[in-house]
Amino acid sequence: MTPMEFSTSPYLLKEVSVQRVMLQVLLALLPGIAAHVWFFGPALLVQLAITTSAALLAEAVMLKVRGRPLNMFLSDLSVVVTAWLIALTFPSIAPWWLTLIGTLFAVVVGKQLYGGLGQNPFNPAMVAFAVCIVSFPALMSQWPAEGQNLSAQVASIFGTAPKLDGLSSATPLDVLKTGLKLGGDEASVSSVMAAHANTFGLMGGHGLEWVAFAYLLGGLWLVREKIITWHIPTAFLAGISLLSTALWLFNSAAFANPLFHLFAGGTMLGAFFIATDPVTGATTPRGKLIFAGSVGVLVYLIRVFGGYPDGVAFAVLLMNICVPLIDLYTQPPVFGNKAKRKK
């Protein structure tokens, strides 16, 4: 009886594990990755390889230094999720050292220095993004042009060939913002979009909108699988939609329609895969709504009025700071205690 001496009820456990949760998140990212590769070339796969191997290596070294079991924590796959999110949010033709720096920073500082899995207050992938966009704004703002082949992209990543202009382009959000700014009073959203017909698609950016759509599908599957709840994606998208609808109705020449904002930039990836990180997000149902709704609003404000092409990273990080406070004030009433609320 010795092995069970201290085991207590329940003796029946559901077959769940952190590894399984992370694996499902990775699976849900696959459609988005496929769409990304289809439209923007295989560079993303190279980046995924760089970030994944660097993340695993960094995690292993840090675990070793911290004296934690390697096998248990490497196989939980949480660091792979971080690595993939970095690859997906960074420009896929960014130089290898940039994604490497981002990954190392995310794993070593963003995650392990705080105490590893479950202890980090900030979303590690977004920490990486923020650090790199502040340090290397130009490199972080370029986006691969469509229809590039592997060798050209690999050359760009590893810097083996001179920089080709046709290889990269600005993101639709960037194009719109600069177009409106440069165009002055005559420019309107529709005129900028007409001038850059190749960049814009039906809803968001050309090609990008389908990548976003694929993220949406993967995210809905996660909701169905109960890996994430509906609260965060819904509130995130509602936050963006409400603000963008209001401003679009107010002045449709200066502000793009809500559909564009839903399918442009990192909206879908952020709503279903980034803001939903359980470790760094709010946990109570009402807290999740407040947290993600605020992220959505901030994303819009930063991408439209701020200096950066997109706002997901900063919006998420800013709201990460507020999580303990949000959770404290949104504790749900307990059974039989619906009348009294926790102060």
């Binding site: 207590t8 769940v16 594990s17 946990t283 959770d327 307990v334 059974f335 039989g336």
Partner: protein, 537 residues
């Protein structure tokens, strides 16, 4: 059959029920065990005082332990035989501690005491309560709260519903299922006793919908009993663990949420287990005290089945009836969600023993290593009391017990739903039990300290008072003495004038003594205040 609106409780899980194995055969009486060890303390509340000693001959059903106080219930000899001793014996408790028990060697004759059945309908409610307490009837769903103490309606709130709990939501357990299938009428008649005591508007018998046979049997019996049971209704409730928790079942059937620390009767509702009301029926109408119960023997055994088992039978002997497989490495008492591994297999079956599960590593794989919490919130989603288990865990782990309390640890019923779903394999309930016992110990320490303090204060007060009294006594004595002398002197002065000086001095002394006594009397009330009842809590 009227259609009752059902309510939902939040959370809950659906573990594999594993009930079908043990319902294929009818209940059978377990053979007489080699020895019976009847623990005296088998209910919530006071520990009954033993009425027998080594060498005494006892009859089946003879009272061997007297209830100690209102919240306590008598215990009885489960068969006729000889008391070997009254001693500490391994208890059916996860701690592995021993409990004061009456050890009886059966004589094999199984001779009953004189049965004393009563016509309860003609008895005063007070008398019925006493009889239930004397018969040792306690809650048999596992909580073993003395049943008689639950049979008083609130003075201000009318009784609306009485719930009869036949939900039996724990996996593996089927004793209530079989009881309802085979003895439905007696269960209903037993419920009738409590209906007559509490006089509710409705009696709702809640049975999880994975037990259609039991529900059907109860409905047939109800029909047979006719108009006297008109307010009774058998209700199938959705199978969702822990629907059989009293508060959950009350919620499902009535929509009422009984807060922690509140009596359900204050909300016009009360809940009894089916086995409890059955025992009450046997006790009153057949004069049989609670000396046996139905126990499901299942798990890693060849022949899972329900047995009528005498209280006090060694668990190992009862489990052996089911022919456990070779890799059995322990006995689980209760279900796999809330039960516990019995530290000593010779521990006896008690009134709370609804199920014995042969444990094997194959059936219940050992826990995987604990990972850090990722705050996924799965635990909060399944918590039937709508707590935030991961927050409780966080603070319990850092021994921040004030915070633990502020997250309502005392509302936790330890149902195990949170541990069941945790992807990080954190034994959450274990942390909560730890926190609860630490908080209990802290409160106990505080109580002890308060008691010591008041005892010390009382001692100080007493010493001061004694000193005061002594001084007063002395002063009084001095005054009396002085008065006496003055009187003597007055008598003498009429005849003799030679002692004039002495007479002058004595009234002075008397005046001083009187003044001292007055001052002492003034001081006394100031000291007497510390506390009138310094030892009361």
């Amino acid at each position: 059959m009227s259609v009752l609106q059902l309510f939902k409780f939040k959370g809950g899980v659906k573990p594999a029920t594993n009930k079908t194995q043990s319902v294929t055969q009818p209940i059978t009486t377990a053979p007489m065990p080699s020895v019976l060890a009847v623990p005296l303390h088998q209910s919530v509340g006071g520990t009954p005082r033993p009425l027998v000693q080594a060498g005494d001959k006892v009859l089946k059903g003879q009272k061997i332990g007297e209830a100690d106080g209102w919240v306590s219930a008598a215990v009885h000899a489960p068969t006729s035989g000889t008391v070997r001793e009254v001693t500490l014996y391994p208890a059916a408790h996860p701690s592995g501690l021993s409990a004061s028990s009456v050890i009886i060697e059966p004589d094999g004759e199984d001779r009953w005491i004189e049965h004393a059945p009563v016509d309860y309908k003609n008895l005063a409610p007070e008398r019925i309560r006493t009889l239930l307490q004397e018969a040792g009837v306690v809650g048999m769903g596992g909580a073993v709260f003395p049943t008689h103490a639950k049979t008083q309606a609130s003075r201000t709130v009318p009784m609306e519903e009485m719930i009869i709990n036949g939900a039996e939501c724990e996996p593996f357990i089927t004793c209530d299922d079989l009881l309802m299938r085979e003895r439905a009428e007696e269960v209903l008649r037993g419920a009738g006793i409590f209906r007559d005591l509490l006089m509710p508007t409705r009696v709702l018998i809640g049975i999880e919908d994975n037990k259609p046979e039991a529900a059907a049997a109860m409905r047939v019996a109800l029909e047979k009993l006719g108009p006297d049971f008109a307010e009774f209704e058998v209700v199938a409730v959705p199978t969702l663990y822990p629907a059989g928790g009293a508060k959950q079942l009350i919620r499902v059937l009535t929509g009422k949420e009984v807060p922690n620390g509140t009596r359900s009767t204050d909300m016009g509702v009360q809940c009894f287990n089916v086995a409890t009301v059955y025992s009450a029926w046997r006790a009153l109408v057949h004069g049989e005290p609670l000396i046996s119960r139905i126990v499901t023997v299942t798990g890693n055994v060849e022949e899972p089945r329900n047995y009528e088992v005498l209280i006090g039978a060694p668990m190992s002997e009862v489990l052996a009836l089911g022919q456990p497989n070779a890799d059995t490495d322990g006995i689980l008492m209760g279900g796999p969600m809330m039960g516990f591994l019995v530290p000593d297999m010779s521990a006896p079956v008690v009134k709370a023993t609804n199920c014995l599960i042969a444990h094997s590593p194959a059936l219940f794989p050992p826990n995987e290593p604990e990972m850090p919490c990722i705050r996924c919130g799965s635990c909060a989603e399944v918590c039937p009391h709508e707590l935030q288990p991961f927050e409780l865990y966080w603070h319990a782990r850092s021994k921040n017990f004030d915070k633990v309390k502020s997250f309502y640890i005392n509302d936790c019923i330890e149902c195990g739903c949170c541990s069941f779903v945790c992807p990080s394999h954190i034994p959450l309930v274990q942390y909560f039990r730890f926190a609860k016992s630490e908080i209990w110990a802290q409160n106990q320490d505080k109580r002890n300290a308060d008691e010591a303090k008041s005892r010390f204060e009382f001692k100080q007060y007493r010493e001061e008072r004694d000193k005061q009294e002594k001084a007063e006594k002395l002063a009084k004595a001095a005054a009396v003495q002085a008065a006496k002398k003055a009187a003597e002197a007055a008598a003498a002065s009429s005849g003799e004038t030679t002692e004039a000086t002495a007479i002058e001095a004595d009234p002075k002394k008397a005046a001083i003594a009187a003044a001292m006594a007055r001052a002492a009397a003034q001081r006394a009330p100031a000291i007497a205040t510390p506390s009138a009842t310094p030892l009361s809590e």
